[in-house]
């Protein structure tokens, strides 16, 4: 029978998120799944409400992209009582809730940060290098994890030093504004050797700021960021960006397969299906990446 799946999506705060939503729809259409998406507008309380109403509608499975890692126990218990399997997408929840969901299809955001850090360390070599960091939204777990991963990776290299770190709220405009002030504060940018941004959007803004200050991003200042949205490849093609770590928007696809298998054959999947965090640099044919991504709804 046709499956009905409820998907409690966080909202639409970035291009990546929009892509995840639209890829989920495409994947659902491919598999003839009836996907109900409830958009939570960034609020946990809305997500809880949405899950409750999915339960009330007796859907076959619930996908949850949790806005925050805690606070799901009671609502997921309700889902469990109603015998509705839950799959986490994109973000994990607190370990205490392990029993309450079927599986999590996520990337490891600490690992993402580490990949970015390792790339930078490798690229810079032994040179002393002052790094500035554009953080994500204060309080967002992804931001904290990407910071943590990066920090751990560069901690092994004393020549790398994060000299400034400020939030750019994951947005282009703030990324640009913050980068402008970093440049001013660091001797017109001369003291900066690399920028690390928690997402590509902020980096795209930062690249503009560097250009306007007469600097050459990608050459004078190295860039590394995370997500792999199409626009960062455009910048790579132009030689203005160096590296990005991919976060695939296709988390629903594997999740659909897992649910289908579970429903039909009772196959219990592993607790964590980790998506790959690919490092993509200017050497990886950015034009091709750009072309393949631009239709995905970013």
């Amino acid at each position: 029978a046709e499956l009905t799946i409820g998907f409690s999506q966080i909202g639409s705060e970035s291009g990546w998120r929009a892509a995840e939503t639209s890829v989920s729809k495409q994947e659902a259409a491919k598999r003839k799944v009836n996907l109900k998406i409830a958009d939570a507008q960034q609020k946990q309380e809305n997500q809880i409400k949405a899950i409750r109403s999915f339960i009330a509608q007796n859907v076959d499975a619930i996908f949850l992209a949790p806005v925050v890692s805690t606070g799901w126990d009671s609502v997921l218990k309700e889902a469990k009582e109603a015998k509705i399997p839950v799959v986490l997408l994109d973000r994990d929840i607190d370990p205490s809730g392990k029993e309450l969901y079927l599986t999590a299809v996520t990337s490891d955001s600490v690992h993402e940060g580490a990949v970015a850090g390792d790339w930078l360390a490798k690229t810079v070599g032994d040179k002393a290098c002052n790094v500035v960091e554009l953080q994500g939204t204060v309080g967002a777990s992804v931001a904290a994890n990407r910071k943590k991963g990066f920090d751990t990776a560069v901690a092994k290299h004393p020549n790398l030093k994060v000299v400034r770190s400020q939030t750019g709220d994951f947005t282009r405009a703030k990324g640009k504004e913050v980068m402008e002030s970093f440049i001013k504060a660091e001797g017109g940018g001369k003291n900066i050797c690399a920028v690390y941004a928690h997402n590509d959007d902020m980096m795209v803004g930062a690249i503009q700021a560097m250009k306007e200050a007469g600097l050459k991003p990608g050459k004078d200042i190295l860039t590394v960021s995370i997500d792999a949205v199409p626009d960062i490849f455009k910048a790579m093609v132009a030689g203005e960006a160096n590296a990005t770590v991919e976060l695939t928007p296709n988390m629903a696809g594997p999740a659909f397969d897992v649910v289908a298998a579970f429903k039909e054959k009772g196959t219990v999947p592993p607790k964590w299906i980790q998506t790959e965090s690919r490092l993509l640099t200017a050497a990886d044919n950015p034009q091709k990446e750009y072309d393949s991504k631009k239709g995905l709804g970013y």
């Binding site: 639409s12 705060e13 970035s14 291009g15 998120r17 929009a18 892509a19 939503t21 639209s22 953080q135 204060v138 400034r164 770190s165 400020q166 939030t167 709220d169 994951f170 947005t171 282009r172 405009a173 703030k174 640009k176 504004e177 913050v178 402008e180 002030s181 970093f182 001013k184 504060a185 001797g187 959007d201 795209v204 803004g205 503009q208 306007e212 200050a213 007469g214 626009d231 709804g297 970013y298």
Partner: protein, 330 residues
Amino acid sequence: MTALLPRRGLAQILALIVILAVDRVVSPQFFDLRLQDGRLFGSLIDVLNRGTPVALLSLGMVLVIATRGIDLSVGAVMAICGAIAASLADSHGLPVVLAAALGAGLICGLWNGFLVAVLGMQPIVATLILMVAGRGIAQLITEGRIVTFSSPDLVWLGNGSVLGLPVPVAIALGMLILTGAVVRGSALGLLIEATGGNARASELAGVGTRAMILSVYVWCGVCAALAGVIAAADIMGADANNAGLWLELDAILAVVIGGTSLFGGRFSLVLAVLGALIIQTMNTGILLSGYPPEFNLLVKAAVVLAVLLLQSPKLSGFAGIMARLRGTKP
């Protein structure tokens, strides 16, 4: 001495100076300016440039507040108009793009004005409707993506420069002068102040209070549209999800710091813009300071309170100093 000092606005100017001084302390190169590719470059220019959207919003907002209203939808209107501009930028000329974006802002303003002036809804809920739905409309236009463009004309609006000044700053200055000319050059200013001061009495004196209210919301919409276009031009893309997010609060804050009462009546355009600059000077200072971002909001709260206390009629000490400077007894 007395003639040199403005009757109002001393507190604001003083606040700005103090914050500038603090900025200089946290960032020694704060006042450095140099010419870079034919445009001025430095933190002060950043303050002006980054302050532009809120300054533009506050130009419309101050008029709305003068009529005892409030417009929560300006952030959403920014997003809508930025999205429209970005989607048209690469296929149409700048005049068409601007006309479409500003036209959309005008329609948004008309809608708000209609709800408030004609249906008699309370401004805060009336504009809350567009605040919620408007961002949805903007996202509908961009389908949640960041719509980028490369039209050099539009990009120039965000990143170009005239006479060394960034174009946005020039536009904001132009709008300030234009708004000032329209409002103070005609009877609009007086009639708006009368409407805000006492709508019933003004109506009985023959003032078309509805038309006044409608027109201020329309103007507010247009200002927001312009701010939206500039914000989009700045990052060469329309980010419907985040453009103008929470800027309505900054705009209201700017107006109040500029000394206009939320209960309507007397207003000052220049001081509202000064309010926007005070906020941005503080924001830029925070970014330059190098403190961890967890402190941003605390600093903001402290500064806002301090600036307001400076203006409080009850702080007789300061009021006394101001009065003495002006040569009158407190």
